[in-house]
C-alpha cells in the first residue's frame, strides 16, 4: 500500500449559508501529481486555505503523514512540510529574489529569528537559496527587487519560495495563472522538475496541461468533490462533461 502524505476527512466550511467546502475527503499519496479542477467558485482555493490552516474548518480532520494537524497553526504546518503557493502573486515587492528565498531558507533552518548574527554569515542558506533560484532559471535576476521582475519570473519566484521550505507536500494554486499560454509550458516544466519525493497537488484550468502532468484528477463543484480518477476516467465521465467540460474545454 502506498504511503499517504496528506489526507482530509469530512472537511466542512460554510460562509453564512454558502457551503464552500462540503464533506471533503481525499488522500494524496507520497510523490503523487494530482490536479484539482473545477469551475470558478468551486472552492478549490478555499480547500488549499483549509489544508494550510489559513482558514479554520467548521468540522473535519486534516492529516499530514500520520499526524493530525487540524489545530496546528499555518506556520507550523509549513515547518512540518505542508507548503503552498498563491494564485495571486504574494511576494515581497522590495526584496530581491535572493533575499526573499534566503529568508525562507533561513526560516526553515531555524536561523531567521537570530538577530545577533550578520546575514552574510549564513553562507549555507545563501548558497542554497541561489541554488533554488538557479534551478528555476532565476539566478541572473536574483539581485533585482522583486517588483521589477517580469510577471512570469514572479510566478517562478512563487514556486522558488515554496521550495525553499523543503516541502513534503506542495499545493500549487494555479501556478500559471495569468501567464500567456506560450509561456506556461516553461512554468510547468519547472513543476515537472520538482523532486519526485514531493507530493504535488495543483489547481489548473488548462485541460491540456492537466492531462499532461496529473496522474489523477479531482473535480470539485460547488464546494464538493464531484469525482476523482485517472485522466482517462475523468475524460470519459459523463457528469464531468456535463458540469465542467461540457462548455467545450476539450
Amino acid at each position: 500500500m502506498t504511503e499517504i502524505a496528506l489526507s482530509t476527512s469530512g472537511l466542512n466550511k460554510k460562509f453564512g449559508s454558502l457551503v464552500v467546502a462540503g464533506d471533503i475527503s481525499l488522500e494524496l499519496p507520497r510523490g503523487a501529481r494530482y490536479a484539482l479542477i473545477g469551475p470558478n467558485g468551486a472552492g478549490k482555493t478555499t480547500l488549499i486555505n483549509l489544508m494550510t490552516g489559513m482558514l479554520a474548518p467548521d468540522s473535519g480532520k486534516i492529516t499530514l503523514g500520520t499526524e493530525d494537524i487540524t489545530a496546528v497553526p499555518p506556520d507550523v504546518r509549513v515547518k512540518r512540510g505542508l507548503v503552498r503557493t498563491f494564485q495571486i502573486n504574494t511576494l515581497f515587492p522590495n526584496l530581491t529574489p535572493l533575499e526573499a528565498v534566503t529568508l525562507a531558507v533561513c526560516e526553515r533552518r531555524g536561523e531567521a529569528g537570530v538577530w545577533w548574527k550578520s546575514l552574510p554569515s549564513c553562507k549555507a542558506a545563501a548558497d542554497e537559496a541561489y541554488g533554488i533560484l538557479s534551478s528555476l532559471r532565476l539566478g541572473e535576476h536574483c539581485e533585482r527587487p522583486t517588483k521589477q521582475l517580469a510577471y512570469g519570473q514572479q510566478r517562478l519566484l512563487e514556486i522558488a519560495l515554496a521550495l525553499a521550505s523543503k516541502p513534503k507536500v506542495l499545493l500549487l494554486d494555479e501556478p500559471a495563472a495569468g501567464v500567456p499560454k506560450e509561456e506556461s509550458g516553461e512554468l510547468f516544466a519547472a513543476v515537472a522538475g520538482i523532486s519526485s519525493d514531493i507530493s504535488v497537488l495543483f489547481i489548473e484550468h488548462d485541460m491540456e496541461v492537466v492531462f499532461r502532468f496529473a496522474s489523477r484528477i479531482i473535480v470539485m463543484v460547488s464546494g464538493r468533490i464531484l469525482v476523482e480518477g485517472t485522466p482517462d476516467e475523468i475524460a470519459a465521465n459523463e457528469r464531468v462533461r456535463e458540469v465542467y467540460l461540457g462548455s467545450g474545454h476539450v
Binding site: 506556520d75 507548503v83 498563491f86 504574494t90 531567521a112 529569528g113 550578520s118 552574510p120 539581485e143
Partner: protein
C-alpha cells in the same frame, strides 16, 4: 548591475555582504558628530538632545520603517525609560551606566507585556490602541503625583559622576560625550539587528504579512521580539534624557512626543537607518531656531513640515536624495 566581475562564479554571500558593508559616508557621518566640540561648543546641550532624539527615532524605525507596524504611542517607552532612570537616581542610586541598563530592562519588560496586546490587532484598531495606551500611561503618571511629581515633573534627580570621574557639567560636555557614546553603541547593535536574518524577516513582514506564515514564519512571536527590542532602545533614549537633564517632564509620555518622533523619522526617511538620525537633527535644530523666535507657534511649523513631507517627500529626505541620485545615474548611462 552585477557587482561581480563577469565570468567569475556567482557568489551569493558576496552579494549579501556588499549590502551590509560600512560605507565611506557612514564613517564621515559619525566623525562629523564630533564636530560640535570644536565648532559649536555652546550648543552641546542641544547636541545631546539631538543624539537622544536620534536614538528614539531609530528605535521607532525598527517598528515603522523596517517592520511596517504603525505606532502613534511610542512615547510610552521613552517615558517609562525616563521615569525609571529618574526615579532610580532620585531614590539614592545615581550611577549613570547601571541606571541606563536598569531603565532599558524595565522598558523592555513593559514592551514585552504590551506586545501581547499589539500582536492581536491591526490597522485602525492598532493606531487607536497605541494612542490610547500613550494617553493611559500619561494619565497614570499624572495621577501618581506623589511618585512622579505629576504636572510639575520629576525633580531631585541627582546623578553621580561617570566612572566616578566625569561630572555632568553645566556646558553639557560630559552629557554630549555620554549620549553620543550611548547612541553610537546602540546604533551599532541596531545596525547589526537590521542586517541579521531576523532583520530580513522584519522587512519580510513589512513587505507581505500574508506570505510570511506561508514560508513558515511565526509572525506573532517575531513581532513580540521586535516590540521588545524597540521598546528597550526607546527606554534607553528616555533614560539618557532623564539623566542628562536631571529632570523628567510629564510630556515625556505625551501623545505630542509620540507624534514628534514620528515626524523626525518620516522627515528623514523611514526604513533607511540614517533617516531617523538626520530627521532628528533637522527637527531639533529647526525647533530650536523657530521656537526661539516664537515658541507658541512652533506647532504651526511642525504641522506645515508634516504636510509638506507627506505630500512631496513620501520617502523622506533620504528617500528623495536616493531617487535623485538614481535619476542622475540613469541619465548618465
Amino acid at each position: 548591475m552585477n557587482a561581480q566581475t563577469p565570468g567569475a562564479a556567482f557568489n551569493p554571500q558576496e552579494v549579501l555582504r556588499a549590502q551590509v558593508r560600512w560605507r565611506a559616508l557612514e564613517i564621515i557621518f559619525w566623525v562629523a558628530t564630533l564636530a560640535p566640540f570644536v565648532l559649536t561648543p555652546n550648543y552641546l546641550i542641544l547636541c545631546s538632545q539631538i543624539a537622544i532624539a536620534a536614538l528614539f527615532a531609530l528605535s521607532l524605525d525598527l517598528l515603522v520603517g523596517y517592520s511596517g507596524i504603525v505606532s502613534l504611542g511610542h512615547a510610552v517607552y521613552f517615558g517609562v525609560g525616563a521615569y525609571s532612570a529618574g526615579l532610580l537616581a532620585k531614590h539614592g542610586w545615581g550611577e549613570p551606566i547601571s541606571g541606563l541598563l536598569f531603565a532599558s530592562v524595565v522598558t523592555a519588560l513593559v514592551g514585552y507585556l504590551i506586545s501581547f496586546i499589539m500582536v492581536r490587532i491591526t490597522h485602525f484598531a492598532l493606531i487607536m490602541v497605541t494612542v490610547g495606551l500613550c494617553l493611559l500611561f500619561g494619565e497614570i503618571a499624572n495621577s501618581l503625583h506623589d511618585v512622579t511629581g505629576g504636572d510639575d515633573g520629576l525633580q531631585g534627580v541627582k546623578m553621580w559622576s561617570i566612572f566616578g570621574i566625569y561630572r555632568f557639567d553645566m556646558f553639557g560636555r560630559t552629557a554630549y560625550v555620554y549620549t553620543l557614546v550611548a547612541t553610537f553603541l546602540s546604533f551599532l547593535v541596531l545596525r547589526r539587528i537590521i542586517n541579521s536574518p531576523f532583520g530580513l524577516s522584519l522587512r519580510g513582514m513589512r513587505e507581505n504579512q500574508r506570505r510570511m506564515p506561508a514560508i513558515g514564519v511565526p509572525m506573532k512571536s517575531r513581532l513580540q521580539v521586535v516590540y521588545v527590542i524597540s521598546a528597550c532602545f526607546a527606554g534607553l533614549a528616555g533614560a539618557l534624557s532623564a539623566q542628562t537633564t536631571q529632570f523628567v517632564a510629564l510630556d515625556a509620555l505625551s501623545f505630542q512626543r509620540s507624534a514628534e518622533v514620528l515626524v523626525m523619522l518620516i522627515l528623514g526617511g523611514a526604513g533607511r537607518l540614517y533617516g531617523g538620525l538626520i530627521g532628528a537633527a533637522m527637527f531639533m535644530v529647526a525647533r530650536d531656531q523657530l521656537a526661539d523666535m516664537n515658541p507658541q507657534y512652533w506647532y504651526f511649523w511642525l504641522g506645515l513640515l508634516l504636510v509638506i513631507v507627506i505630500i512631496f517627500l513620501p520617502n523622506g529626505i533620504l528617500g528623495g536624495l536616493a531617487a535623485l541620485i538614481d535619476r542622475v545615474r540613469s541619465r548618465r548611462s
